[in-house]
C-alpha cells in the first residue's frame, strides 16, 4: 500500500533542546524528507557592534564574553590581541603563557559541551552529556578561583591578563591534566563502539573540502573535512609557536569526523597546557597602559582560533578612545552557511545531528 501526503511546514524552536539555544528552523517536510529549510536567528541580538562604538576598547572586552559565552576566554583574547596589534602595547611573557593556558582550558570546556550535546542529539539522552560536564565543571572552578567568574570571565586585558592565578590553581590544574587522558579514553570506550552512535553520525552531513573552504567554514567544521587549517599554526599568536602539537583532521567530512576532531583537539590542548606549565616564566602578569587608549587612525583585522573557528575583530579607529567601527567576525554564524544545502534532501533527525556537529552558540551568532 502506498500513501501520499501534501508537503507540510514544520517549525522547530526557538525554544527547543536540539537547537542549542534560541535558534529557529522552519522546514518543509515531504514525509520524512526535508524539501526546504530556512533558519531564523536574531532572538539574542543585542546590537553589540553599535554599543561598542560608544565604549573604550577596554570597556568592550566584557561584550566578547557575552558573544561566545561558551568560550569567553578566546573572545577576550581575540579583542585584546587586536587592540595590542593596533596600538603596539605588549603583554609580558608570563601573561602570554597564562593566556595560552586559559584559552586551551576554555577549548577543552567548549568541546566537552559541543560533543556532549551532539551525543544528546544523537539519542544518548543526558548521561554522556553529564560525563562531559564533569571535566567542564573542574575547568570552570579553575576560572572561578582565578578571576571570580565561571562563564563571563572578562579575564584577558590589553597588555596582559587581569589576575595572577592563586597558589592552589597550579596543583588543581596539574591534577586535572593528569586525569584527562584517562577521561578521554573513557569517552572513547563508551561511545565509539556503540553501533547506534556510529549509525547516527557516520556518512551523515558530509561537507566536501571544496565546499568547506568556499563556504568560509573554519575551526572543527573545516578540519573535519580534511583541511589542516588552524590559526594557532598558520599565524601563531601569543606563544603558540613554542609548543609542540598536532592539528587533527577528518577524512570523510561527516558528523563523526567533526566529533572526532574535537575529541582529538582536547588531547592536543592537554599537551599544550602541560608544556606551558613547564615553561611559564616568573614575572608580572600585566603591563601598565593608559586609562583610555587612543590608537592612531587606521584599521586592523585580527583573528584567533576559537573553539568554533576563526573569531576575527575588524576595528577601525578615528583617534578617539572608542572604536569608529567594531565588527566581530562570528565563526558560529558563518559555519551555518552550508546548513540549507546539507539539510535539504536529508531526514529531519540527520539534519539535527548535522546542526549539532557544527556547534553553534547563539550569543555569538546574534551578537
Amino acid at each position: 500500500m502506498t500513501t501520499s501526503a501534501e508537503p507540510f511546514v514544520l517549525n522547530i524552536g526557538p525554544q527547543h533542546p536540539s537547537t542549542h539555544g534560541v535558534f529557529r528552523l522552519r522546514v518543509v517536510m515531504d514525509g520524512e524528507i526535508i524539501r526546504d529549510l530556512d533558519m531564523i536567528v536574531g532572538y539574542l541580538h543585542r546590537s553589540m557592534e553599535k554599543l561598542a562604538e560608544e565604549r573604550t576598547y577596554t570597556q568592550n572586552i566584557p561584550f566578547t564574553d557575552r558573544a561566545d559565552y561558551l568560550a569567553a576566554m578566546t573572545g577576550n583574547l581575540g579583542l585584546a590581541i587586536a587592540v595590542e596589534r593596533m596600538t603596539g602595547v605588549e603583554a609580558p611573557d608570563r601573561a602570554e603563557y597564562l593566556r595560552v593556558i586559559f584559552a586551551e582550558l576554555q577549548r577543552i570546556a567548549s568541546h566537552a559541551m559541543a560533543n556532549g550535546t551532539l551525543i544528546s542529539d544523537a539519542g544518548a539522552w543526558q548521561t554522556p552529556l553529564l560525563y562531559m560536564f564533569r571535566e567542564r565543571e573542574k575547568i570552570l572552578d579553575l576560572f572561578e578561583m582565578t578571576c571570580g567568574a565561571r562563564l563571563t570571565t572578562n579575564y584577558m586585558r590589553i597588555g596582559g591578563v587581569s589576575f595572577e592565578p592563586p597558589a592552589e590553581f597550579w596543583p588543581a590544574l596539574q591534577e586535572l591534566m593528569d586525569e584527562m587522558p584517562e577521561r578521554t579514553d573513557e569517552y572513547a570506550s563508551l561511545l565509539l563502539d556503540n553501533e547506534i552512535f556510529l549509525a547516527r553520525t557516520r556518512n551523515v552531513g558530509i561537507i566536501t573540502p571544496e565546499d568547506a573552504i568556499n563556504g568560509s567554514l573554519s575551526g572543527p567544521a573545516l578540519r573535519g573535512s580534511g583541511v589542516p587549517w588552524d590559526l594557532r599554526k598558520a599565524e601563531p599568536y601569543c606563544v603558540y609557536d613554542r609548543f609542540d602539537f598536532d592539528v587533527p583532521v577528518g577524512t570523510v567530512g561527516d558528523v563523526y569526523d567533526r566529533f572526532m576532531v574535537r575529541m582529538e583537539e582536547v588531547k592536543q590542548s592537554v599537551r599544550i597546557i602541560k608544556q606551558a606549565v613547564e615553561q611559564i616564566p616568573p614575572g608580572p602578569h600585566k603591563n601598565d597602559i593608559p586609562l583610555a587608549l587612543r590608537p592612531e587612525p587606521g584599521e586592523i583585522y585580527s583573528r584567533v582560533e576559537s573553539p568554533r573557528g576563526e573569531i576575527g575583530f575588524y576595528l577601525v579607529s578615528d583617534g578617539t578612545p572608542a572604536p569608529y567601527r567594531f565588527h566581530l567576525r562570528s565563526p558560529a554564524l558563518i559555519n551555518l552557511t552550508l546548513l540549507r544545502e546539507l539539510g535539504v534532501g536529508s531526514s529531519l533527525p540527520d539534519a539535527v545531528v548535522t546542526l549539532g556537529s557544527i556547534d553553534i552558540v547563539l550569543g555569538e551568532i546574534d551578537r
Binding site: P166, N214, D288
Partner: protein
C-alpha cells in the same frame, strides 16, 4: 603587488591601493574577486570576512580574502558613494561564504547586493525601521552623534594616568591580593 597584478590583468579595476588594502571599482567587485580566487599566484580560496563601514558620505565594503595554501591575506575595499541607496554586486557567485555575511551587512548597514540569492534581513525582523549600524540611524536623536570623544573617568590634567594606578583600595591592598585572600578562605567547589 596584488594591486599591480590585478590592475594588469583587469584594466580599470583598481582605483587606489596602499600596503594594507586594494581599492576596487564597485561595479567590478565580482570580476576582481573571481580573478583573485582563480589566480594561482594569489590563490584567494576563502572569503574570510566581509563587512562594511559607514563614513557618513560613503560606505566602504571590506573583503578579507585568505589563501590557505600560501598562508597570506588580501584585503579588498569597494567604496559605494551613493549613501541613500547603496548597491554592490554580490560575492556569492564566487564565494558561497558571502551568503550570510552579505545578509548581515544588508540588515545592519542597508547595502543591497545585486544577484544575492536570498537577500533578507537576518538579525532584525522584517519591518524594523532603518539600518542601525549606519552612523545617522534614526535612533540617534537630539543631535547626538555616535562615538566617544573623551573617556569620562579620564583625568584631564593627567591623560596618561595608567590603568593599574587607580586599582588600589583604601588600606593599600591591591584588588588581586584581596581576591586571593577570598579564594584562600573558600572551600573548593563553592560558588555554584
Amino acid at each position: 603587488m596584488v594591486a599591480q597584478a590585478l590592475g594588469a590583468a583587469l584594466p580599470g579595476v583598481v582605483t587606489a591601493s596602499n600596503d594594507e588594502w586594494v581599492e576596487v571599482a564597485p561595479d567590478r567587485v565580482e570580476d576582481a574577486l573571481r580573478w583573485l580566487h582563480d589566480s594561482d599566484q594569489f590563490d584567494a580560496a576563502q572569503l574570510s570576512n566581509l563587512t562594511a563601514v559607514d563614513r557618513y558620505d560613503r560606505f566602504e565594503v571590506v573583503y578579507h580574502l585568505q589563501s590557505l595554501d600560501l598562508n597570506h591575506q588580501i584585503a579588498l575595499k569597494a567604496i559605494v558613494t551613493d549613501h541613500e541607496d547603496p548597491v554592490l554586486p554580490s560575492a556569492y557567485p564566487v564565494y558561497k561564504g558571502a551568503l550570510l555575511q552579505e545578509r548581515e551587512v544588508f540588515d545592519l548597514m542597508g547595502i543591497r547586493f545585486a544577484n544575492h540569492p536570498d537577500l533578507r534581513r537576518i538579525l532584525l525582523w522584517e519591518g524594523f525601521p532603518g539600518h542601525p549600524l549606519r552612523k545617522d540611524w534614526m535612533g540617534m536623536v537630539g543631535g547626538h552623534t555616535s562615538g566617544l570623544r573623551g573617556f569620562p573617568f579620564e583625568n584631564k590634567e593627567a591623560p596618561d594616568r595608567i590603568m593599574n594606578a587607580g586599582n588600589l583600595v583604601e588600606h593599600g591592598e591591591s584588588l588581586s591580593a584581596q581576591t586571593r585572600r577570598n579564594v584562600e578562605g573558600a572551600q573548593p567547589g563553592q560558588g555554584h
